[in-house]
Amino acid sequence: MTIAIRFAGISKQYGTFQALNDVSFNVAEGDFFALLGPNGAGKTTLISILGGLTHASCGEVTVMGHDVQRDYRQARRAVGIVPQELVFDPFFTVRETLQFQSGYFGLRSNDDWIDEILANLGLSEKADTNMRALSGGMKRRVMVAQALVHRPPVIVLDEPTAGVDVALRQTLWAFIRRLNTDGHTIVLTTHYLEEAEELCNRIAMLKQGRLIALEEKHQLMNRGRSRSLLLKLSSDTLPESLQGKLIGRTDDGYLELKLPDCSALEQILATLGNAGISVRDIQISKPDLEDIFLEMMQTPAPSLS
């Protein structure tokens, strides 16, 4: 396994405020990696340190083996970052913006690749439009395009889908997935956890500047709260023996019961049958990443470092 990004003991102090506290982890080459955490957790700060926009108070970051401070030229060539804030240069058109960005990375004739990016992000028709005249979502697409002009092996997207419509989200993710299949390493932050759940293979969680989880997605998904069973019944009252399993009631009249494993299901249904209660509807809910995320953020977990 080759390491694409290595964060080693990163801390960041803003005055007396500790934005990052001894964060260490690796992202492997080819990973589709989610960096999750509530507002203010330190995700953007970590990404800024990776891109050389911010200096860490202590610790080291390497991208594809290049230190972001000492070998900043190689490190910056290896990474493409989509910043979280919507920023653009109002003086130029979309194509000019991308041509300049290519030039800054030392690429002279990059138009074929620029056209391909534009087509994949649904921007072909806007290529010669001034940046000022684009809608917010389109500006964000240009920001994604800007991060890709130099075909970086590592692509970092800081909330790329904020303010982007459903259709583009689909095309954006299809494009990013293709890049990932082609061998690019992807790091993503998002507050839409279903996106992370669907796309990523590894997940890190930050909370108040500390790393509190770092796992393969399937491992993480198996943690936390077990499944639960949602039932709509002919009667409102449960048999006595099932009372203890009741977790709650939904507004639309379902009863929610604990379901530690699937064998419990048969037993519950049998008990109901014996009591003469018929089942009108049944659903089994699995905890999704959002449930696990909320649970992890609530419990004061020790820091992993």
């Binding site: 803003y14 800024s48 891109g51 050389g52 926009l53 911010t54 200096h55 900043y72 030229r73 190689q74 910056r76 060539r77 970052i81 910043p83 804030e85 920023v87 653009f88 240069d89 109002p90 003086f91 130029f92 000019e96 300049f100 960005q101 290519s102 030039g103 800054y104 990375f105 030392g106 690429l107 002279r108 800007q146 130099h150």
Partner: protein
Amino acid sequence: MTGFYTLFYKEILRFWKVSFQTVAAPVLTSLLYLLVFAHVLDAHVEPYPGVRYTAFLIPGLAMMTLLQNAFANTSSSLIQSKITGNIVYILLPPLSHLEFFSAYVLAAMLRGLMVGTGVFIAALYFAIPSFAYPLWILAFALIGSATMAMLGIIAGIWAEKFDQLAAFQNFLIMPLTFLSGVFYSVHSLPAFWQQVSHANPVFYIIDGFRYGFFGVSDASPWLSLGVTGSCAVVLAAGTLRLLASGYKLRH
């Protein structure tokens, strides 16, 4: 090289796309000065023997405009990029601080020289100054524009808001350029103000520049070259250090 060249070209395009405001407007303003001062003073003042006031004024005005525009180019470009946030797109690529420095400085020098030349050409309508030593003219035009371009980088990096930049411009750049002998020969000033003028580096830029035209000046052109050249070297070193440290650009 491509990185430097692209940034240089972008900085040129940035002012050229709005050249009405960045090139034509300053030329017009200088012509208005020329019109008013020349009309009022031409008959009364002869700054150097045999040199008409209008002819005397032209190089000074051209240089003053050149200086102000070189400063405006770097400083406004940087503060705009910082405030809109698009400076990240210059900070994320593998541009060295030397590339950053040369691209911004050279583009600002180009704007300064264009505007200065514009003023000069338009002013020929009023009077034709002589061209005693063209190499001195060129030397001081280059040093002057580079100096102000670097000051503009420093101001653009330091300022966090437009009004801070305006303060830098109004309380430092404007007094330095206005009190540098653009409108008069410092020989005509009382002794005290002559002393004060000689402490102003911009005085030497204007004075040396004018020497190139008329072959006479208040100070020796070599002294002016020494003073302005050393100022430029010190500023270059300081600006490069500032950029290398990432001061106010990379937290």
